[in-house]
Symmetry: none
Subunit: 206 residues, 4 copies
Amino acid sequence: MSPKWVRQPEARPGQILAAALEEFSRRGYRGATMEGIARAAGVTKGTIYLYFAGKEALFIATLRAQVTALAELLPGLRIEAEADLGDYARTMAARFLELLMTPSIAKAAPLFIGEINHMPALRRAYLEEWMPQFSMKLAAALESAMAAGVIRRLDPVITARTLMGMFTIFVLTQEVFEAKTVTPMRLEDIAETITTIFLEGVRNTR
Amino acid sequence: MSPKWVRQPEARPGQILAAALEEFSRRGYRGATMEGIARAAGVTKGTIYLYFAGKEALFIATLRAQVTALAELLPGLRIEAEADLGDYARTMAARFLELLMTPSIAKAAPLFIGEINHMPALRRAYLEEWMPQFSMKLAAALESAMAAGVIRRLDPVITARTLMGMFTIFVLTQEVFEAKTVTPMRLEDIAETITTIFLEGVRNTR
Amino acid sequence: MSPKWVRQPEARPGQILAAALEEFSRRGYRGATMEGIARAAGVTKGTIYLYFAGKEALFIATLRAQVTALAELLPGLRIEAEADLGDYARTMAARFLELLMTPSIAKAAPLFIGEINHMPALRRAYLEEWMPQFSMKLAAALESAMAAGVIRRLDPVITARTLMGMFTIFVLTQEVFEAKTVTPMRLEDIAETITTIFLEGVRNTR
Amino acid sequence: MSPKWVRQPEARPGQILAAALEEFSRRGYRGATMEGIARAAGVTKGTIYLYFAGKEALFIATLRAQVTALAELLPGLRIEAEADLGDYARTMAARFLELLMTPSIAKAAPLFIGEINHMPALRRAYLEEWMPQFSMKLAAALESAMAAGVIRRLDPVITARTLMGMFTIFVLTQEVFEAKTVTPMRLEDIAETITTIFLEGVRNTR
DNA sequence: TATGAATGAGGGTTCATTCAT
DNA sequence: AATGAATGAACCCTCATTCAT
């Protein structure tokens, strides 16, 4: 007779995180239930508490997993020479958009935005762990490009955020607002538009 | 002897909506309680139900009030001639940013993003009422500018969204992420940056 | 310009009682709302409190109105001679059934049964006011018939209740259980059956 | 140290149903609270929801338990020969009355009557589950007795209902109206009276 | 006399968390 | 390690009643 359940201490956290992302995404932080997550993960409620301290901790762990995944996929951003700036940027933009639109990652964005204001531990994770990894990194890359005279001198933090904004808003409008079904756009067109606007905007024409 | 309470059928909805925005913003949709909103509005729980059908309806009404406020403040967007395009756009951008950063409006954004995926009535309001008012309008304005040859020909919907994205991400980063306190930026700098990038990006250089 | 409302101190109680019976009957005591009753009566909530002390008092007044109506309609029950006992009883039974099945009266029965156990004031009204008017009266009539040797000697109280039971159960099954629509019966058949069974059962065959 | 609580998944439903009947009976459907029922059952509110979908479902389950109990106690009703009809019927009537007057069963009747008109699910249970078990069965038995010439030919459905009515009204008057304390009657007298009236009434004298 | 805005207590239900098994 | 029965706090909503107008 096969046992009713098997020990899988190695696999459990991953199963639970995957189920949690799915459930949190489908129903929101408050709307998702531990029961529902457990069922989706193929375990029972109590089991989750063996691996995570509680619902909030599970939520943050769920988002962290996506941030980590994105960071690992992220190529080292570097802007080198004016010559191939356009092609290089276009390629980068398309790849980055593709990453961002990875279903699991895109789903995490609105969850993050929806809760960060009401979950101190989440804000802490963002401010201390995640933000530095991204916008700071991008700002630094831009600054070096400005120093090299490749792009015009602008506030690097603001510029980085502008660039991130262009990407982010597409994730939000496409995934969050489900505009996909209303006004669908091709990924290549988006990348092309963003890149063109940004590059033309920041290119050093002097 | 002064009465225990006074009738204010005219003022009530506004009082409640203001309190609701404050509470929803502070604690999130699920975290806010009708009791708390009522207390903040200076009425009792039951009174809210005289004016709003329930928590969800109150939430949507709260957001609608901000959308309406923004729409009323919004100047008729018009892009006329290349000559003064830069100055005109810079002024417009600054004014628009100022509007968006109006505390009550900025607070509404993350609430909206956090719930739209799990509140069908809210999505309906957005898709049928609010979205057409903004991105469609902006896209139309851009299209006419393209037709006039003022700016380069790009997909007007994508371009409009890109532009909106630039603005939106600043609202989000400043208000949602409370980055204000971490990496403060001057409104004028933001407007200048956005405008420069966008205008340089879309100007018809032919 | 006609006034928004007119004073009708004479007509109000009757309007309210009629509306109350309708609403209580449709939704039950707890299910009916003062708001609903008021609306059905064409007045507003507050007005009801000008005429009735509260919901419970209104409920009892509603039932009392039906009891009074029935009592007024009720012919003086008298059983005279063996000769015309059958015809007389049959006629009486049919008339009584018809009275009982008067919509407003039939509606009151289940309301009464449903609440009497949980409403001390209602029980008091029943025990002290209403019951004596009916089963006591009937028992007395039966007792005199027994004394006259018209019907066999049986416990008059039990016999009276048995007779009342035959009628009551038809009201309940027809109106309460809405069996009408499932197994409809003609009033004459019911009266005939009850009368036959009862008369044959109680006739003094000695 | 003894545990704070013990698991009793087998016993819980029964405990809850017993407590529910008691509370519903004492305070009526609306008057009873889940909290009160839980306390009476020795559990907490939440536990009830592990076994019943909600208050209404609990209510219907409570009544169903009594109907089932009655049905199980009910002997196969059979009317065989004229010879011992009287004795047989008298015995049956007394036994049936005794069953009906079982405190838990008698308590269910007024609850049922009080709510059936305002609880669609309850009406469905009655019309589709419970009614067929009783009045239909009795009508069939009477019909066969008529066919056998044991009792006179009358509408079997009406006759069955008349008979049920005689019993029911005693339950109602004794338990519902708590007439017990006002005009107490001996069970045997009631059975004797009902049987006599009914049998004399329906006996085939031709 | 009539209105209806406002109150506020109360109850059904949900669900994160605990803990006996 | 895993289960799932049980807990209990919290919250939305209803509605009888009050009272300013």
